[in-house]
């Protein structure tokens, strides 16, 4: 709703506005919806002035069409696909580190992100929102860390990480970097390219996203490089408390957050990665949280789950299932076994298609 005020366009003087108010026209939408001829007869304004103001207001407030051919050329030159993890053949010294830490829960997720690229059709696409869903402890934050570390280290680009749960741990980022390179300078350089924002309620999240959109992205960060990914971990932590009951405010805020994320992704060619919790539907199947309205927002959705093995109380195995994608058939699953370390072995024995459930 754009209220008619003096000065928002040339020709819109106070008298003009008062004349319009007498006809109960207070917003630009009302004004544009009226026929200038009828309006000229009803109030004391000239038809010509009305037509001119109408044209100027329309030019100011409408969105302009872009030719499909131009849009396509622009997309071809600006879309990038960001890998979520290390390359297919990790260097030898990284392999040794993996062997040393094989008991650690987290290392499986380093393996996870090799195969996650396959699920995502080579990686995170810029201009799109990708969602990771899973129950607590399924590894969503660790995947986010891995992406946050991989982009600065491998691609030398910056990453914005919005933490809404307090789960950001710089030591863990450093640990992940140390498995990729032992050069201290490289590690510090990569860490400098990760910018962390904290927002613990939806209004701060919105303010943060708007700040990023209007100021943060234009500024080059320390060490150069442009921002290529924005991660929000997690979006449901701030939104799920606002939903429910008969209030519309929660749904409206949800759609506003969605709109901001989409605009950031599209306008700045950034890959947006968000995490979400899961709920169960009537049949007991897991589905993403935040309801149906949110489910239309991300372009791609991956469900992370623990693998339950009988006799083992806490396993570090995880599966990633593709549940929504516009490029790959759904229900692709990648499973990760602690014993398999190299990328080739993962691709041969680790990948399985899920039987129809």
């Amino acid at each position: 709703m754009v209220v008619l005020r003096e000065g928002i366009c040339p020709g819109l003087t106070e008298d003009f506005i008062n004349a319009l108010h007498s006809e109960d026209i207070k917003t630009v939408e009302d004004f544009v919806s009226c026929n200038p001829e009828e309006l000229a007869q009803k109030c004391s304004l000239s038809y010509k002035a009305l037509v001119v103001v109408r044209r100027v207001l329309l030019a100011q407030y409408t969105a302009f069409p872009v030719s499909g051919a131009d849009l396509y050329q622009e997309l071809l030159s600006s879309t990038a696909i960001l890998s979520t993890g290390s390359p297919r053949f990790p260097p030898a010294h990284a392999f040794l580190f993996n062997m040393h830490m094989y008991i650690a829960f987290y290392i499986t997720l380093c393996c996870l992100v090799f195969s996650l690229d396959k699920l995502l059709d080579s990686g995170l696409y810029t201009g799109e929102i990708t969602e990771l869903t899973g129950s607590p402890g399924s590894g969503k934050t660790q995947v986010c860390f891995s992406v946050a570390v991989n982009i600065p280290h491998r691609l030398k680009q910056c990453v914005f990480y919005i933490d809404t749960k307090g789960g950001m741990c710089a030591n863990r980022l450093l640990q992940m970097l140390q498995t990729r390179t032992s050069n201290m300078e490289e590690q510090m350089e990569a860490l400098q390219k990760i910018k962390v924002f904290r927002a613990f309620d939806v209004f701060s999240l919105l303010a943060c996203l708007q700040h990023i959109r209007f100021n943060g992205l234009q500024q080059a960060s320390v060490g150069g490089g442009s921002v290529k990914a924005v991660m929000v971990d997690s979006v449901s932590a701030v939104l799920s408390s606002m939903l429910g009951g008969k209030q519309n405010e929660g749904m409206s805020l949800l759609m506003q957050v969605a709109g901001e994320l989409k605009m950031i992704a599209k306008d700045f060619n950034i890959a947006v990665l968000v995490t979400n919790h899961v709920t169960q539907d009537g049949n007991g199947c897991l589905k993403a949280g935040l309801g149906l309205s949110w489910s239309h927002v991300p372009r791609t959705r991956v469900l992370l789950q623990r693998v339950e093995k009988p006799g083992v109380s806490s396993s570090s195995l995880r599966t990633a299932t593709l549940t929504k994608s516009s490029r790959q058939p759904c229900h692709l699953v990648e499973e990760f076994d602690l014993c398999n370390w190299s990328e080739e072995r993962n691709s041969e024995s680790g990948k399985r298609k899920l039987e129809s459930s």
Binding site: S67, L292, S356
Partner: protein, 275 residues
């Protein structure tokens, strides 16, 4: 998947016109019932100008181009048996396409008014696609305060203006809406009380039922101008692990519901039903 089919169920509503500009009958004979489609037939590719209004930044140009390339390659193979250069074909198609991004219902309304002048000077422009028209539903409901009329004001004006565009210029309008409202009143055999919202009075039905999510929730003015309504749902996974989707079309011109199912493939969609 095509840009307009989402993995959650959704409904698509179509407003159409029967004469005037080059019309789009048989634009999808599998979806629309015979003699119940939007207009008269023209052969082959229709070569009409299209405006796509993208309200939730959902439009996937790269996917559209890959579908176009597949179609053009198939068409050139079938017609003259040669593999012609797809790029020029794609470029000439894309030149007929315009894409507009709107970020609020007020902007949508103003953009429609602005586009009226483009539509009036370009007689080859036949199709307006709004994807999706329900994108601002929740934001409008909240910003309208307590009064329903105020909440629906922009949507009502858009609907009235779209009807005017349809009548005056004879363009075909496709709009998509997300199915986000669960239809609580369809349980006829549950024998429960009719109070919606109370947790004891509805029984959770499987989400595969097509009637579960087709509750129309946009304003009355919009419901009035819709002439064809196609409901898309995810139906089942076939034996070779492919997800099958189904579309059920109702229109004011014919009785009954025309159903069909389709698969989504690299080049677009393939229909599984026989006419």
């Amino acid at each position: 998947m095509t840009a307009r089919v989402r993995t959650a169920e959704n409904g698509a509503q179509v407003v159409s016109r029967l004469e005037g500009r080059q019309s789009l009958k048989d634009v999808e004979p599998n979806i629309f019932p015979v003699d119940g489609g939007p207009g008269q037939v023209q052969g082959g590719g229709l070569e009409v100008g299209v405006i796509i209004i993208d309200t939730d930044h959902h439009f996937d140009m790269l996917r559209l181009v890959s579908i176009l390339e597949g179609r053009l390659a198939r068409h050139s193979r079938e017609s003259d048996g040669s593999e012609t250069e797809p790029e020029e074909g794609v470029c000439s198609c894309l030149r007929r396409l315009s894409v507009v991004h709107c970020s609020s219902s007020a902007q949508l309304l103003l953009t429609l008014h602005y586009l009226e002048s483009s539509i009036s000077v370009q007689p080859s422009l036949d199709l307006l696609v709004i994807d999706s028209i329900s994108a601002f539903y929740w934001v409008d409901r909240y910003s309208g305060g307590e009064s329903i009329a105020c909440q629906e004001a922009n949507m009502r004006k858009c609907a009235e203006f779209l009807d005017k565009l349809r009548k005056n210029y004879g363009i075909v309008i496709f709009a998509t809406t997300h199915a986000i409202m669960r239809n609580y009143n369809t349980t006829s055999d549950s024998g429960l009380s009719d109070v919606p919202g109370s947790s004891s009075s509805w029984r959770w039905k499987s989400a595969d039922s097509a009637t579960d999510f087709n509750k129309p929730y946009l304003c009355r003015a919009w419901q009035r101008i819709v002439t064809h309504r196609v409901l898309f749902t995810k139906s089942h996974v076939s034996n070779d692990h492919k997800q099958i989707f189904s579309a059920a079309c109702t229109s004011i011109m014919t009785k009954g519901v025309k159903k069909c199912s389709f698969n989504v493939i690299e080049d677009g969609i393939t229909f599984l039903c026989d006419k």
